[in-house]
């Protein structure tokens, strides 16, 4: 039986995590949402270290850029250069619209760059379409047994 996909949200702003959960909870699609608040914790989640030893292996990472402890750009770089993690799709979801950030992220291997819209209807629409695309239409790589 196919298991529900696992999503990892990495964002230091609880308000944004809540907002994403609001939208994702209403989605007709079936998936699990996990959330961490900084880049270092994101890496231990992905590598099942410390308190995340039992963490599921994510099918999709939604990553903010400006994070405490370990910046989102570093998380992206570490993830995409780690053979065990590199194939996990990473969606950058940030308020930065700097073209330097956009280029850098794609260079580092980001699969998609989305800007957090400033008003609710747009925010909901973006999160909803992201879920539809990445957890619905897109074919994701088979997870390796760990």
């Amino acid at each position: 039986m196919k298991t529900a996909p696992e999503v990892l949200l990495v964002d230091d702003n609880p308000a944004d995590i809540d907002l994403m959960n609001e939208v994702l909870a209403k989605s007709k699609r079936h998936f699990h949402v996990n959330a961490v608040g900084d880049g270092a914790e994101a890496m231990s989640f992905l590598r099942r270290q410390g308190k995340h030893a039992e963490a599921p292996s994510p099918d999709l990472v939604v990553l903010d850029l400006n994070l405490p402890r370990k910046d989102g750009r570093e998380v992206l770089s570490d993830l995409k250069t780690d053979p065990a993690l590199a194939k996990i799709p990473v969606v950058i979801f940030t308020s930065s619209e700097a073209s330097s950030d956009i280029s850098r992220c794609y260079e580092l291997g980001a699969n998609c760059y989305l800007r957090k819209p400033g008003n609710l209807p747009d925010f909901m629409a973006v999160v909803q379409s992201m879920a539809d695309f990445w957890l619905g239409f897109a074919n994701l790589p088979q997870k390796e047994k760990r």
Binding site: A15, L19, S95, G118, L120
Partner: protein, 404 residues
Amino acid sequence: MPMGCVLCVSACPTLVADSTNARGGPSERPDKIGGKLRALIVEDEPADVELMLRALRQAGFEASADVAQTAEEFTDLLRRNPYHVILADYKLPTWNGMESVEVLRREGLDVPVIVVSGALGELTAVECIKQGASDYVPKDHLVCLPEKVRRAMQDKRLRGEHKQTLGELARSNQDLEQFAYVASHDLQEPLRMVATYTQLLAERYRDKLDDNADKYIHYAVDGALRMQTLVQDLLAFSRVGRQGAGLQSTDCNVVVETAVKNLQTTVVESGARVTNDPLPVVVANGSQLLQVFQNLIANAIKFRGSDPLAIRISASKQGKEWVFSVADNGIGIAPEQAESIFAIFKRLHTSAEYPGSGIGLSICKKIIERQGGRIWVESETGQGSTFKFTLPATTPPGELRSRP
């Protein structure tokens, strides 16, 4: 060790005093007659050198000098010692004293050059000054030399002060710009929280609280969304100053054509007829100039009257600049408002009458002024408006200012 005063970079009085003291030089300002004066004299006739020094000493200068006869000696001395002034003979056996101006420029030094020469003729004297000499003194009128040296020194000091003031002004402008950018940039995040969560409240609790609650939430949402527009506009405004000048040859016909194309939907909806005379090629930042034309045309459409809207764009050359004109037959502007409309966030109408935050014209003004031009409006209420702006003809503003 020469008793020199600095001859480079800044002529600010404190800096002069500091660096001269560091070199054991005079602390008085050299443009006061009676101070110590170190001259570099370009001259092959020792007797003439003596005469010049004597003239200066008689007027109260404690004058001393090094003498250079060739370009190599001149450059070498200039690199090793500071000088207040250069006194250059026009015609030497091996080189022309005027070439010293060229050497100074190459070395990046600001030392006044006074041409001291035998009969030179008015035309040649004028030519020397055009090439950058500060002044000219005939050898048989050496009595004028001290006053001319004093004046040249004073001019140099004023030049330095002027440059310093301009530099401070530019820095403070830059700080302000940086502040506007950082403030508006950093305001975006918390503002996004307020906007989205008041919207979520409005959506989730509509009709569940009382009527007043719905109204209050609506006010909060509306305020947050309006503030977002203001912050974004402020960012757009400060971005103009953060971009490089990017001046290049720009065909205004193409720019206007693109502006109209970008505004296609509103142009068609409003039934506006946009026409333009043949427009010149100017040296400008093309994408910013596009923004100016686009803002002006969009404004003409927004503030149209009841008559079918006609917008006419033209340009005429007046002296060293092009005067562009964007004329419409819209609602016009009262003359007493003609200046204030260019201020940031200035609006003459409520957003119910005409939407917008009042940023467009202030961006136009900033763009045009950065490219060395001016912008204004000629209008009467009900008589249409003609927005005019100037751009330097063919020469970029930087080059226009390169000669003092």
